[in-house]
Subunit: 338 residues, 2 copies
DNA sequence: AATCGTGATGTAAAGCTTTTCATTCACCCT
DNA sequence: AGGGTGAATGAAAAGCTTTACATCACGATT
């Protein structure tokens, strides 16, 4: 016995299917006692809407797809919260797709959108991803897409972001203000646009303060905890030891600190560490992490609003939100500056 | 100008819509040069399948819905990875729904499944959630649902889990083996079935070792970092200080340790701490956390396989997977036992 | 040469809902 | 009493795809 359809309900209630449909969507327009009969029939049969049929007819799905490169990265959680809130308010269901940075999966979600299973997409992924290679995405141009946090070279996409370069510069400038003169940078993966922006900010802060830049003070990382650990080993081997390090994100900062701790190097006594993102654990880490906070919930909410306005056929512009430098216990003034 | 349909493609390629459909799904059955013509027409028009129509016709959506109570909880990430893997292998797209433990959103995802937008659901949520109150979910009984990690009173649901009571018992027994005689327990929210199971394991371990149980050694928590902090304050106020504490999850353990650190109480010198879950950060925390590891990826994969087998009309049974006690630096033997 | 088989393609129905337009009916007003 | 008004409901089309079945052509077999 298969699912009941609207027709089954109509038969039992003794009305036409049009009336059943109206009962469910425009209850006011149907006579009270008819409505009563129909709802009883719905309960009796256990009828539920067939979303495929509805979607086919209405040409929309009332769903928004959020594509995340790695759901395990807690950084995204708060953004999702912001999106969720706005989506619910607009009557949309938020669905998350996790690509794991795997191309095949990215493609799967691209198709999801293209096939009309979602009315729009919010990309937290690398914008260099499959999204813009898909034939006709740009040609068709009809599918609303907003990117968050990573602004790529694809200007045609609406985006929400912070000024990563300025944020990096602010973080490094703070270290300089605390008396540090030898400041290293633990980068993210260099293919990533964010990484390059933060790197630029780091270099600019040094240049603005008249400090000499050293190639060997730029330690390679990939945003993972393990690469933070590896970076500490590199740090150990340096001839000229920096007294502070600016990390491209909190996870690598934690990896670095963790290794330092094991080696008896105390943060911030022996070296100051600044992270980036202010992830959930940053404040309960030991020591609590000085870091750059991005207004994540607000970013998500803003992006969702932008998407809605695109769906409504408006033409909004990209938005840049403010960041905040959060001072905690992983940084300290140098002895000279005290 | 609206989206091209299969009919547009057919017209341009000079074939019937049936042939177009076959080109896309059974390429071998159509003559090579016809196929070529059709694919060219597809490229030219930028045609993409209308998922709603397909789904309506095929009576399935090739989508699996995973419902998570809180996407910010890193605990779930690895489970999702396991699910993803099996889902991809089966040609299904995995979509994540985050309820934030909000009833209205839970309902939204229940409807998602009921409306046929997904072929099945994996619940990482509390099984006491809306899922079983929805009229006819059980009556209809046609919608495949598998729960992970939390086995509730609803026996009719297939579930994947570990033996939480035995795991808790193992953790506490380890502390006892290290010489601890006064062991506290930082619980989760008591409404949660997991919490009760772990609590039972704690009590049983004490009882089996002939240790006296103390009401005031059961500290209340709610799985959050903040409650771990609060628990430390309670610990401080205890008349009889425990030398070890078993926490219902890693987050509360970290909150506890973090507060301890601030107060100058050193872990594990002054108190041993055991967590539960082995979340991502557990190993890079300072000190690295002794904890109970759940085989999360395996749990996800297993659940997905169960779901597939239910969809295939088989009748699999619930599965219980093994856990593992991971010894790290947050626990130490007592002086007496050394 | 007639028949059969086979491979390629077309026809048409089914899947379920929303929505426009038409119809019916009751009631009111003049 | 007749016409008009408005509310309530019904009939039917449209939305797009998959698929069972029919058709057709052509080569092979006997």
């Amino acid at each position: 016995m298969s699912r009941p359809t609207i027709e089954d309900v109509a038969r039992i209630a003794g009305v036409s299917i049009a009336t059943v449909s109206r009962c469910l969507h425009l209850p006011d327009v149907v006579a009270p006692n008819t409505r009563e009969r129909v709802l009883a029939a719905v309960r009796q049969t256990g009828y539920t809407l067939n979303a495929a049929a509805q979607s086919l007819r209405q040409r929309r799905s009332n769903t928004v797809l959020v594509v995340v490169p790695d759901i395990g990265n807690t950084f995204f959680a708060e953004i999702l919260g912001g999106i969720q809130q706005e989506a619910s308010a607009a009557g949309l269901t938020m669905l998350i797709g996790d690509t794991g940075r795997v191309k095949a999966r990215e493609d799967a979600y691209v198709r999801y959108l293209l096939n009309g299973r979602a009315d729009g997409a919010l990309l937290l992924a690398d914008p260099q991803a499959a999204w813009f290679d898909i034939p006709n995405v740009n040609v068709l141009g009809i599918r609303p897409i907003v990117t968050i946090s990573e602004v790529g070279p694809h200007q045609q996409t609406i985006a929400v972001s912070i000024d990563n370069e300025a944020a990096a510069q602010a973080a490094v400038s703070h270290l300089i203000a605390q008396g540090h003169r030898l400041i290293a940078h633990l980068t993210g993966p260099l293919t990533n646009i964010l990484t390059r922006q933060r790197l630029d900010g780091y270099r600019r802060a040094l240049a603005d303060a008249g400090l000499t830049w050293r190639q060997d003070h730029e330690l390679p990382g990939d945003f993972g905890v393990a690469s933070g650990r590896a970076a500490f080993a590199l740090y150990r081997a340096l001839d000229v030891k920096p007294t502070a390090i600016f990390c491209a994100n909190d996870e690598t900062a934690m990896g670095f600190i963790s290794s330092a701790h094991c080696a008896g190097v105390i943060v911030p006594r022996d070296i100051s560490v600044v992270g980036f993102d202010d992830i959930h654990f940053a404040q309960s880490y030991i020591p609590a992490l000085t870091t750059v906070r991005q207004p994540r919930a607000e970013m998500g909410a803003t992006a969702m609003r932008l998407l809605l306005s695109i769906i409504a056929n408006e033409a909004p512009a990209s938005i840049r939100l403010p960041f905040e430098l959060v001072l905690r216990d992983s940084t300290a003034a140098t002895f000279a500056a005290r």
